[in-house]
Amino acid sequence: MRGDEGMTTVALRINGVEHSVAADGRRTLLEVLRDELGLTGAKRGCNQGVCGACTVLLDGRPVRACLSLAAACAGHEITTVEGLTEGNELTPVQQAFVEHGAVQCGFCTPGMVLTATALLKENPKPNVAEVRTALSGNLCRCSGYRKIVDAVVAAGGAR
């Protein structure tokens, strides 16, 4: 980065790895993830905290990376979609998305997967209503939500 005043170095723990990144007071976690670390799974859909495409987990809870200042994330455990599995494995949530046809264009998918992952950790067997509520902050324009909800319910094992 050039021309930016007040750059400081921030230590971020992302997917279990410590990173030292430059960040001024305005730099968002989304910018650091995408532009500096090449973690492009989190998407810039609105940059305003509405669409949920940039969702990542901060200490296991879903947050909007576009609204989170990078400097404020120091000391927290950050998980992106890239950090969910090793190699070519899929988590039960990802596997359920594959099996239920819950993916169309895929732009909302990383955010949906992370939000669902956080939900299942808190509530391992959510019902349809609980899943719909948990996903209500993640926009999908393709699917109509039905298959995403079914995938998350199935990943939790409840019917």
């Binding site: 021309g3 046809g101 895929g106 209500s136 926009l139 999908c140 324009r141 699917s143 298959k147």
Partner: protein, 767 residues
């Protein structure tokens, strides 16, 4: 070895799904090239103004800024799908608030955006026309003074700001209305809807040492990108290599150009890779949106419910550039009769330039607007005559042998079955309206047809050395799953599993021509080409095998799982042996291909009169019936859809789960259109270009219980009988919801979206 199953008809997971659930799928914003710069755009603050001059010195003085381009740097070259009226940037004058006026390339996005704001443009404001009525008023300022001299790809009828006027009629409408026992008449209004592809538009261009441009962009057709960039910049097509990364949905907004020409112009100027990704606000303000319609419509019937006549007049806001507007207008008129036998129908429509962003293709392509009007009138007539509205539709449904409005032959028609299926599954006959305090409940039905087809496509199937296959079509998968469906068609035709076929990424250098992922056409049109190319390969495999086995070609056949067999015997050869033989011994590598264009005429001049209609060969027909259950909060007026049943005649579901995904997604996008979504202008400025202020449905706003019902009346020349499903499920939604609101509350809504305020106002007026 597990037994081979037919690949068509299986709900196989999408071929790209692992990439997408792991976040590895690369969209345009995720791409990067060495030495890449970032672009940003300066937008017009005026709806209509002459550009007097530019001062770019402050922007160029910002450290990290490498290039600034304004309208002064472009010569006049024009693009446009129907009327060539649009340059890559505003030249000479601006025509809407938000129009690109200048672009910057800089070392990073933040610097580029900061520099763009420092460009000074001197304007002389001109009077603007912000509605079609203003634009049609005598003496109204012209948005395009040179309309008459623009190149047009059809016999356009135009006058003043009205850039396309279309007439379509059949029968003797005046005489028929005189014979009607009941006639209903009304005016309806629909709003601008934003596509909201979750991925904003973007592009990345790089110029090589030979001066050839390599372009990646969010698109619905690499070939339309190529054509638009080359037409608007005056480049030969051979100089432009158009490619696609994964695309974060389209719905119409990525079919024609967005910022690709500007990004290419920057890259040509700086001779470095340049990427530009629009912000959500820019994507709202400068890409395109669904046309606002004003519709005057009259429908008449006999006492027994037989529909006799319909008359429709539409007025479309086209915005500042023609884009796909003539097509939307013409298509909406072709659909305005609905899927019914109405022997006497007369339609007239105009689409008008205004000083707003361009309006263009959006899932439904004008059909949802006219259905909102026409399908309410079918209900009104049924109500007046005391006929059940679903029964009314069944009585008037086009029969299989009947042609479409205009005279085109219809070769498969599952409308009656769709209506019967939703009647049965929704429990229509015994539908209850449980009264709860403060809640009114109602049921509505609507029906429609939609085409799949249009224009040219081609496919190439190559056999690799080990007997597996590469399929190339040039069709961009925008998320709906066409890579998967086309792979299934190819695999099934060659009797191998989908693992043995890879679908190549579209690329204008490597892929055969495909017009685009639009008009619900890929499964039907491109699918036909794929089936044809696979058949060509199958024929060549048999010829090679016959040579290897030293027998007549008529004695060999393709067998399940990738084998050639000798008829009446157990002798088989694996494809790998044939591939080895052709690659290394005799005949040469097997390459099969098929090119086609949809060519059945839309208009039969013996039946219909059509003037200024831009489409003369549209496609084959899918059919749909939809029932919705609506609850209205009596205190707030908020209408919510609790359950929906949608039956779609898709000919043959190549991948049933993907078909359901299209039906469910279309319904929910239709619910946004029906109930909450509206782009609002404050003067010439779009007042709500953010997701905070533009309400698209979330998971809790839509019914969980969306019941997709697949009906299969095979299209004779469709691949395995298939026809399109991409758009149709959206079309019926506003009308079905409006009819359910009437059923619940006894009020008719004539304006979209049917917001709580509008519903409540109507209910209070009715009391």
């Amino acid at each position: 070895m597990s037994p081979y199953k037919n690949q068509v008809g299986q709900s196989i997971p999408k071929v790209d799904v692992r990439e997408k659930v792991t976040g590895r799928a690369a969209y345009i914003a995720d791409l990067s090239r060495p030495g890449m710069l970032h672009g940003a755009v300066l937008q017009s603050p005026y709806a209509h103004a002459r550009i007097k001059g530019y001062d770019t010195s402050k922007a160029l003085a910002v450290p990290g800024v490498r290039c600034v381009l304004t309208g002064a740097d472009f010569t006049e070259h024009f693009m446009g799908a129907f009327i060539k009226d649009e340059g890559p940037i505003a030249i000479g004058k601006v025509r809407y608030v938000g129009e690109p006026v200048a672009v910057v390339a800089a070392d990073d996005e933040r610097t580029a955006r900061r520099a763009a704001r420092l460009i000074e443009v001197e304007y002389e404001e001109l009077p603007a026309v912000l509605t079609p009525e203003e634009a049609l008023a005598p003496g109204a300022p012209l948005v395009h003074e040179d309309l008459a001299s623009y190149v047009k790809v059809f016999d356009a009828k135009f006058e003043g700001n009205a850039f396309s006027c279309t007439d379509l009629s059949e029968g003797d409408v005046d005489k028929a209305f005189a014979e009607c026992d009941v006639v209903v008449e009304g005016t309806y209004e629909t709003q601008a809807q934003y596509h909201l592809s979750l991925e904003p538009c973007g592009a990345l261009a790089e110029v090589d040492a030979n001066g050839r441009v390599h372009l990646w962009s969010a698109n619905q057709s690499v070939f339309r990108v190529q054509a638009n960039v080359c037409e608007s910049l005056g480049l030969p097509m051979s100089k432009l290599h158009s490619m696609t990364p994964k695309v974060g949905a389209g719905f119409g907004n990525k079919m024609e150009a967005h910022i690709q020409p500007l990004v290419v112009a920057l890259a040509l100027k700086v001779q470095r890779p340049v990427k530009m990704i629009l912000s959500r606000e820019e994507d709202f303000e400068m890409v395109r949106a669904r046309h606002p319609f004003k519709i005057r419509i009259r429908t008449g019937a006999r006492k027994d419910g037989t529909l006799l006549a319909r008359e429709v007049e539409t007025l479309l806001d086209g915005g500042a550039y023609a884009d796909d507007s003539p097509g939307v207008l013409g298509y909406s008129l072709l659909m305005a009769r609905g899927p019914y036998t109405i022997p006497n129908t007369r339609c007239f429509g105009r689409v008008v330039y205004t000083n707003k962003m361009r309006f263009g293709a959006f899932r439904g392509f004008g059909n949802g607007q006219v259905a909102f009007a026409g399908e309410q009138q079918i209900d009104e007539i049924a109500h007046r005559l005391g006929i059940d509205p679903l029964e009314m539709r069944l009585r008037n449904a086009m029969r299989i042998e009947e042609p479409w409005f205009g005279g085109q032959q219809v070769n498969s028609n599952g409308l009656a079955e769709c209506l019967e299926k939703v009647r049965e599954k929704s429990g229509w006959g015994r539908r209850a309206r449980p009264s709860r305090p403060g809640v009114k409940v109602g049921y509505g039905v609507a029906a429609c047809a939609h085409i799949s087809g249009l224009l040219a496509t081609s496919a190439i199937v190559r056999m690799l050395e080990d007997g597996s296959f590469v399929l190339s079509t040039g069709a961009t998968d925008i998320g709906q799953g066409s890579d998967t469906v086309l792979t299934q068609i190819c695999a099934d035709a060659l009797k191998v599993t989908v693992d043995n076929v890879v679908c190549a990424t579209p690329d204008t250098d490597g892929s055969p021509y495909n017009w685009g992922t639009t008009a619900s056409r890929v499964t039907y049109t491109t699918g036909r080409a794929v089936a044809g190319a696979a058949e060509d390969v199958g024929r060549q495999i048999k010829e090679a095998a016959a040579k290897m086995l030293n027998c007549p070609v008529g004695d060999v056949e393709l067998r399940d799982g990738g084998f050639i067999g000798v008829k009446g015997s157990n002798t088989t050869l694996p494809y790998a042996a044939v591939a080895g033989f052709t690659h290394w011994a005799s005949g040469g590598p097997i390459v099969g291909s098929k090119s086609l264009i949809y060519d059945a005429p839309t208009i039969d001049p013996r039946r219909a009169v059509a003037i200024g209609l831009p489409f003369t060969r549209i496609g084959v027909f899918s059919f749909n019936a939809l029932v919705v259950e609506v609850e209205i909060d009596e205190v707030t007026g908020k209408a919510t859809v609790a359950r929906a049943w949608s039956a779609v005649d898709v000919g043959k579901a190549i991948n049933p789960r993907l078909v359901e995904g299209q039906i469910e997604g279309g319904i929910v996008q239709g619910l946004g259109f029906a109930l909450t979504e509206e782009m609002v202008w404050d003067g010439g400025r779009l007042a709500n270009p953010t997701l905070m202020d533009y309400k698209a449905p979330g998971a809790v706003d839509v019914p969980y219980e969306i019941n997709s019902i697949i009906v299969e009346h095979p299209e004779p020349d469709g691949p395995f009988g298939a026809k399109g499903v991409g758009e149709i499920s959206l079309v019926s939604v506003p009308a079905a919801v409006a009819n359910a609101i009437f059923d619940a509350a006894g009020v008719r809504l004539h304006k979209l979206p049917m917001t709580p305020e509008r519903v409540l106002t109507a209910m209070l007026g009715a009391d």
